[in-house]
Symmetry: none
Subunit: 222 residues, 2 copies
DNA sequence: GGGCATGTTCATCTTCTGTTCATCTGGGTG
DNA sequence: CACCCAGATGAACAGAAGATGAACATGCCC
């Protein structure tokens, strides 16, 4: 689970960060609203912890900005003030929960868990694209009612495609997502995996769900 | 994607250039702030990589100059110093991201991708001109509800037209945007592509969306 | 250690795209 | 009205990108 902490108070944010790291979350930190929004738009966090009072762009602005740009990651707001209007403003801006400073760290942890759990319940473990169904919990894949056996790497790649249906997925995107940094981009490994995925997915003679977009990459057709 | 590298250290800049070329970016290089600013104002780059310390005009000046002239291209600043004030100055001057020398090339690449991606996310993925719709995420193009299949180069050219509707697009502009520097301007390649685009876009007998402007270039009619 | 599954590399084949070329057309100008 | 040039057009070609089949390597389980 990846968490972003945005707070201009470096002492506090480093305490939060360390605490979350000990709980085995992956944590990034930013110290103003601009950096924070940038990071949140570029990376797929599972949760954002956001201070209201910050330089450049305050938490409310940042929150609204994210929602306006279609980022739905759950947001936990922090504030030093406990005025009711603030709470209302925060929730209005699109935050999911609210915590008043000062707080006990355990309180924060509890809220974090609650939000992540809620998120996990909201999104079904199944990703459905056309007649393709992928279950992220059981790692089972079906097309229609035919079960499909995939190796780990094949599964990772297909899941990526299914999370971005219709979008052109470049080779670079696949590299970054499924391999580490020392990937030899001259190899045709990706072509080979596409080939295998296709042969498993499109058993019946219909044309492939994974389309080639020459010079760009591939696309999973919904 | 076209990238401009501005750095007076010729060794470093040639390394950067070669690396980016291998990633299939189109790269120009300048070695002082004056040349750099000139190129950046004349050409439509998608990203500028800019060293802070340079002769004639340093990176900060150049950055401010560009922003003052309405150039919004994302800027990645390089510097040998890692003082916090420098970072602040750079971002204040209008830079979008920051990288401290020395850096691993992969780090540079990651930032470049992030900036380009961010750029892509801020603008809506759909460009609409009349009944023409182009989706930059999926690379799908439609006229009305008829889907249009384009090759890479055709797509690049049409996108350029759609980003400049009603504007006279000269051959030179197309050359610079869709080809590298060793383009043979005596060839009629561009005419051929216009021909193909027209035949794909204007399937029904209506008159072409791409108008010829004799002696000047072409124009996409909204 | 043998055998199986998965990940990776390699060589070859196929298809498509980018480019060139030769020829045709029509508008503007003297 | 005739000429000329910019642009339009259709076809052909060559190289690149991708598809494919098989071999090779590696690690894991029994």
């Amino acid at each position: 689970m990846r968490i972003l902490v945005v707070d201009d108070d470096r002492r506090l944010s480093s305490i939060i960060k360390r605490g979350l790291l000990e709980e085995a979350y992956a944590v990034d930190a930013a110290h103003d609203g601009e950096d924070g929004q940038y990071l949140a738009e570029v990376n797929p966090y599972d949760l954002i912890i956001l201070d209201i009072m910050m330089p450049k762009r305050d938490g409310l602005q940042m929150c609204r900005g994210l929602r306006a740009n279609g980022v739905n990651t759950p947001i936990l707001m922090l504030t030093a003030r406990d005025a009711v209007e603030d709470r209302v403003k925060g929730l209005d801006a699109g935050a999911d929960d609210y915590l008043v400073k000062p707080f006990a760290f355990n309180e924060l942890l509890a809220r974090v868990r609650a939000l992540l759990r809620r998120e996990g319940m909201f999104k079904s473990p199944e990703i459905v694209v056309g007649d393709l169904v992928l279950n992220t919990l059981t790692r089972e894949v079906r097309r229609g009612d035919r079960a499909i056996e995939l190796t780990t790497k094949e599964y990772v790649i297909l899941e990526y495609f299914m999370r971005h249906p219709n979008v052109v997925v470049t080779r670079t995107m696949l590299e970054e997502h499924a391999w580490d940094y020392d990937f030899d981009s001259m190899s045709n490994l990706i072509d080979v995996y596409i080939r295998r995925l296709r042969s498993k997915i499109d058993a019946d003679g219909e044309n492939s769900l994974i389309q080639t977009v020459r010079g760009a990459g591939y696309r999973l057709k919904a």
